[in-house]
């Protein structure tokens, strides 16, 4: 919402004590920190991309069980996925509240986001613990090593996001005058949505597609690729 009208005072819902959105002039008009977040997310794509690639290359290569079919519970994880997606909705509402300068609504939506994100982490802790009890430890097989590494790093990203949102909430509760700025919340929102999108990819590949793998009979990814090439070209 850029007000280019210079002849009138700013509208009442934007208090004059509100910190300026753009603290310094930039060439592109995008704030430095926001651009930094976008670049970081681009970089993080490659991080998760490599972990996901490792999982997919090793899919079905474990020589001992438990295999995904024995252990993955798609309905439970569907619930936790829904919870995480709802947290993204709450985040959107929080960003909107911050932009409108509505501190009370901002705090409410941030707390909602945190609770939903924490529930997701709770599900993950429950799931990891259940897997451990059922005999799938980190060192058990290729499936366990790749699964725990990928989902564990995703969980770490969510946890970091929770701490970040918690800091924003505390700041918002202590400063009714307008901190954190809409930009501060916006940047945290970018991160939060990114982590959600990564989870959608993980949920699709590790649960909906890979969750039913029943052992070493799944073809190696390289073999699958080769079959695809020969079927397409020849």
């Amino acid at each position: 919402m850029a007000h280019v009208d210079t002849t009138h005072a700013p509208p009442a819902h934007e208090p004059s004590a509100h910190p300026p959105e753009h603290e310094e002039e930039t060439t592109t008009g995008i704030n430095h920190r926001k651009l930094l977040m976008w670049v970081f997310l681009g970089s993080d794509c490659l991080f998760f991309g490599s972990l996901i690639a490792t999982y997919m290359v090793y899919r079905g290569q474990s020589v001992v069980g438990p295999y995904p079919k024995d252990i993955i519970d798609v309905p439970i994880t569907t619930i936790s996925t829904f919870v995480l997606l709802m947290s993204s909705f709450a985040m959107v509402m929080g960003v909107a509240a911050a932009r409108n300068g509505n501190q009370k609504r901002l705090v409410q939506w941030l707390i909602a986001t945190i609770i939903l994100g924490a529930i997701f982490i709770g599900f993950q802790v429950y799931e990891f613990n259940l897997f451990r009890i059922e005999g799938l430890r980190y060192e058990t097989n290729l499936f366990s090593s790749t699964f725990f590494t990928l989902t564990g790093f995703h969980g770490a990203h969510v946890t970091l996001g929770l701490f970040w949102l918690l800091c924003l909430t505390i700041i918002a509760m202590r400063n009714p005058a307008g901190r954190p700025s809409g930009l501060d919340v916006d940047i945290a929102g970018l991160y939060w949505h990114f982590v959600d999108i990564v989870w959608i990819v993980i949920f699709t590949l590790l649960y909906l597609i890979g969750g039913f793998d029943a052992g070493p009979e799944v073809e190696h990814a390289a073999v699958q690729g080769w079959q695809w090439i020969t079927a397409t070209i020849m």
Binding site: E23, L35, V39, S43, L46, F47, S50, Y58, N141, T149
Partner: protein, 623 residues
């Protein structure tokens, strides 16, 4: 808010040791990078010397095979991650804000954090020497040489965790320079008016932030295997060592361009200045750099032709690798085209730049010869590969770096280096470099494998190896000349003036050395080669352009020094170092790591609670 920032006063000194520890000035951080990189360059060079002495004669026994393994591993790792990359960062730091007409980088404290994290990571890597745990699986540490059963020492844990720390430093720097270049250009400096060095820095930084996450994941997997019994590269559990090669080279090939593109940028600044002509085909040079960066993602498997990926994969990567030679060749023709009919001034930077072009052509040609996968089967793992990589990284990157050091020495120090000594340095290094690495082509094609610690008599390799060792000592002498020239000129050099070369870029419009605020008045850019335009317009009016006059720096709003980057970097290094405690009892190790984590968190909290710059005046608003 009551925080620790309120308890400890912010550092405010601008002189002495403490000021260097807390500095956020990009020029000082650049100097720190340069000094550290040169030290590590010398360490890597000493490691190379030990190898050259051992290989000078057949059946030598100067070092044990194990120590030789450690030497070639640390030589490669040091030169790539702790010498050439930070040399690049030296130029990024010192020059980018000056070239785009800014007062600092976008995130000055993040910049300081990058440097300290780099330094602590490098020290952590070398700490292994103190307890005799040195990495010894080659600089690309192929699985499963690196698996716990085959590598009993802690050397590879030092390697993996220190590289992780160095990666954090590089990523932070990459983020910073992308934002700086995109967002902090002076008015009028559109993308296609940026100096080529700025372009190459942008491309390099983008490659950095996209390539380093891949090695991060590979190192996480390696560490998980070694520390927590995971199975990523455990063949008995179905793991595939080739995955490491794919991950490493998917990072490693863009990394090669991360090493060479800054040098190409430096050369693209020097050749026009000393040919008295604008760069020939500026947009083509820029786009070639971008195309190289994009294509560098499609060539990684040429490091793996002999792995057995099959004829289709080998053919595809043969073709892509040959294609990437095209934009590189285009750049070489542009540099030659710039010199064509220019009035060439053969000062030391220009000699180094021409040396870069010549030697890079040799390295590029041998590169094309192993882009052909059948021919590569003959060359894989021989000294021919060593010859190639040193022609592109020593003949290329290092010559480019020295060209930059000589070119910007007057700007950085305000003094002129000794021209004659500079030329002596160039010729000694040029001769020594060729004497060292050219015979390796023949040794390699005659079958001498790389990484062997000695060889028997009668293979016909003695002469070439002795030549290489003699060449090494000529390089050493040339570096001694450089060091002497550097310190002598600091003391006794002629004052350089603000623009000794009549150069085209903005950093020459301010005094040498630049004042802390860089530009008293942010320049307005009217076209490519901005400072040449300014000078020509002034000449048309019959005036001469003087360096910008100094103003009182307290009138300019600058980022304040901070110790939080140092604290945070220290915490990160402590966290990584804690992992290396080997008492076979995790109840010691993990609490130590936890302390590192706490230090990091304290650093981050202190950092985020302190404003980037202290307010000079009391105003109603608080940021």
């Amino acid at each position: 808010m009551v925080t620790i920032t309120g308890v400890i006063p912010r550092p405010s000194t601008y002189t002495g040791l403490w000021s260097w520890l807390t500095t956020v000035d990009h020029k000082r951080i650049g100097a720190l990078y340069g000094f550290s990189a040169f030290i590590f360059f010398l360490i890597g060079g000493i490691e190379a010397g030990i190898m050259r002495l051992q290989l000078a004669t057949s059946d030598a026994s100067l070092v044990s095979p194990d120590w030789f393994n450690a030497m070639f591993t640390m030589h490669g790792t040091t030169m790539v991650f702790m010498a050439i990359m930070p040399f690049g960062a030296t130029f990024f730091n010192f020059l980018i804000p000056l070239m785009i007409g800014a007062r600092d980088v976008a995130f000055p404290r993040l910049n300081a954090f990058s440097y300290w994290t780099f330094l602590f990571g490098a020290l952590l890597m070398h700490a292994g020497f103190l307890i005799g745990q040195v990495p010894d699986a080659g600089w690309f540490s192929y699985a499963n040489l690196t698996s716990a059963p085959y590598s009993l020492s802690k050397g590879l844990d030092f390697w993996a965790l220190s590289l992780q720390v160095l990666g954090i430093a590089s990523l932070a720097a990459g983020f910073n320079f992308i934002v700086t270049i995109i967002n902090m250009r002076a008015p009028g400096m559109s993308l296609m008016r940026m100096p080529v060095f700025v372009w190459m820095t942008l491309v390099t930084s983008i490659l950095l932030v996209l390539a380093f996450p891949i090695i991060t994941v590979a190192l996480i997997e390696l560490t998980a295997d070694r520390q927590f019994g995971a199975n990523f590269f455990n063949t008995s559990a179905g793991g595939d060592p080739i995955l490491w090669q794919h991950l490493f080279w998917l990072f490693g090939h863009p990394e090669v361009y991360i090493l060479i593109l800054p040098a190409m940028g430096v050369v693209s600044e020097i050749i026009p200045t000393f040919s008295r002509k604008p760069l020939f085909g500026y947009p083509v040079v820029v786009f070639s750099g971008i195309v190289i960066a994009i294509m560098s993602w499609a060539v990684w498997s040429h490091h793996m032709f002999t792995v057995g990926l099959g004829p289709i994969a080998n053919s595809v990567f043969t073709i892509t690798t040959m294609l990437i030679a095209v934009p590189t060749g285009v750049k070489i023709f542009n540099w030659i085209g710039t010199m064509w009919q220019g009035s060439i001034d053969l000062r030391t930077p220009m000699l180094m730049a021409i040396g870069f072009v010549a030697l890079f052509i040799v390295g590029g040609l041998s590169g094309v010869s192993h882009a052909v996968s059948p021919s590569d089967f003959q060359q894989q793992d021989t000294y021919y590969i060593i010859a190639h990589i040193h022609y592109v990284l020593f003949g290329g990157a290092i010559f480019g770096i020295f060209a930059g050091i000589y070119y910007w020495y007057p700007k950085i120090t305000g003094k002129m280096y000794h021209e004659m000594l500079g030329k002596v340095h160039f010729w000694l290094m040029f001769v020594g470099m060729n004497l060292t690495f050219f015979p390796m082509h023949y040794a390699g094609l005659n079958g001498m494998p790389r990484r062997i610690y000695t060889y028997a008599e009668g293979f016909g390799w003695e002469g070439m190896n002795l030549l290489a060792t003699i060449g090494y000592f000529i390089i050493v002498i040339s570096l001694l000349v450089f060091i002497h020239n550097f310190f002598r000129s600091l003391k006794k050099g002629e004052p350089a003036g603000h623009d000794p070369w009549d150069a085209p870029t903005l950093e020459w419009s301010i005094s040498s050395p630049p004042p802390v605020y860089n530009f008293a008045e942010i320049p307005v850019v009217k076209g490519q080669d901005a400072y040449w335009i300014t000078k020509r317009e002034a000449a048309a009016r019959g005036e001469t352009v003087e360096g910008e006059a100094h103003v009182d720096s307290s009138t300019i709003h600058l980022p304040s020094p901070s110790y939080w980057p140092l604290v945070t970097a220290f915490g990160v290094a402590w966290l990584a170092g804690g992992f290396l405690i080997d008492v076979g009892w995790d109840y010691i190790r993990f609490p130590v790591c936890f302390i590192g984590g706490i230090i990091t968190v304290i650093g981050v909290i202190g950092w985020s609670n302190e404003p980037a710059a202290e307010e000079h005046h009391e105003s109603g608003e608080h940021h």
